[in-house]
Symmetry: C2
Subunit: 277 residues, 2 copies
Amino acid sequence: MTTPKTIRLQCRDQILTSHTSGLAPAYLQANLLILPAAYAEDFSRLCRRNPVPCPLLAVTDGTPKKLNNGILVDSSSEQGFDIRTDFPRYHIYNKGKLQTKSNDCVEEWKDGHVGFLIGCSYSFESALVNAGVPPKNLLLGRNVSMFKTNKLMDPAGIFVNCPYVVSMRPYRKEFIPKVREVTAKYDLTHGEPIDWGFDGAARLGIENVAAPDYGDPIELEDGEVPVFWGCGVTPQLAVEMVGHLIEGQVISHAPGSMLVLDVTYDELREYANNSIV
Amino acid sequence: MTTPKTIRLQCRDQILTSHTSGLAPAYLQANLLILPAAYAEDFSRLCRRNPVPCPLLAVTDGTPKKLNNGILVDSSSEQGFDIRTDFPRYHIYNKGKLQTKSNDCVEEWKDGHVGFLIGCSYSFESALVNAGVPPKNLLLGRNVSMFKTNKLMDPAGIFVNCPYVVSMRPYRKEFIPKVREVTAKYDLTHGEPIDWGFDGAARLGIENVAAPDYGDPIELEDGEVPVFWGCGVTPQLAVEMVGHLIEGQVISHAPGSMLVLDVTYDELREYANNSIV
């Protein structure tokens, strides 16, 4: 099997420049946000206040090659890890607007930039498969459907009036208790659904579950209802909402194109039980 | 000055049976929820997923006289601490309905009950005074106004479709940045406001800011707008919402009648930086 490190090196060499869904399935993958230092404290606080859409896994520690949480990736060698190159694709934002797409952000990374790794729901998809309730997007070989909602995160500093983004997977009603139970334990990667059913869609302000704002459409068959989870695209929408207040460039991964970490969910859980992330 | 321990002993002796606002102002006070063990894991998870309305400070550790967080109260002697007697007043719920009010819950506490202490916004009111932006409820000598909202917590286990309760303090618009800044650091006791202004009231589904669901009404003068914080009454409303699913009695403090702890906010913050609460 291809190791996480090999995948990161393939990204760094720009051999892998597409999505990472299904790669090294035992290992955690992470969403990215890189901000100028002046906004790092506000964003940390946004994550701590809203751990369901924004579960904070780690923060860079002064350089793009080191995290403050040593077990997530190998930071011990030049080969190990570089946040500027080890995602397949990056989005560069200026004043909240997407400016450039790129396969690295070496030129954009400045002293004083701070990188945040956010948990990703890929982590629980294999658990759903193993429990006999596989997500339809996996069965169809598509990206998950993602929606903007009208549910606001609790604000922190400049991050005011920023809505949740949710991922949606269709399930028959009778499977919802099982689906909730299986994903509940993945609290560092969005945990159990935040809402479900067509009444849930209405509560979240989602008018048409067949027309996602991000990712691929997934048809609902008769008897299926939508089930919604917090989604790691939420920070990118936050940057679009308040970007006019941010001086300097902001960098994210391209949706679906994640960083593959060196740990499994259970290893991360064990680590988090013994420390503050 | 009366010490926290003296106040707790006055509660235990049923000398103090009213509210605790303004008592031992340097020290933290805490909200209470006591649940049968079968629901403790769901409620812990509800708190971890929704730290703004439900900032979890500590959980009892097998007995009503010991917490899993040693520095919050003196658990070292018989005199030190007893969760069943050291609040001024208790509310006893059955199937989500308020059944009895009492000055202790010694008879109701059963083996297997688990007590949760939740942060309280009293903790930041003196900081607002010191910053020159005193809350009007303090100036008027009234209880704070509290409202049910239409903002739902992210669900956990049996706790589904449970709305935020918020506290409201009126401020002139130009003071909002200062009020946000002062309370932001109190992230273990609700932190900065979750919304503000009359548009904020509308977003939260609050139609009349002069008619609170709990506490006292506070008039808004010309130029003042409502400012809303997460509130520790949220867990009690959660118990009312899903109480029909709970077998056995649930116990809370009476709103405003808190437990006075042996630590200041800064001591708690220091402790939390060094451990998982």
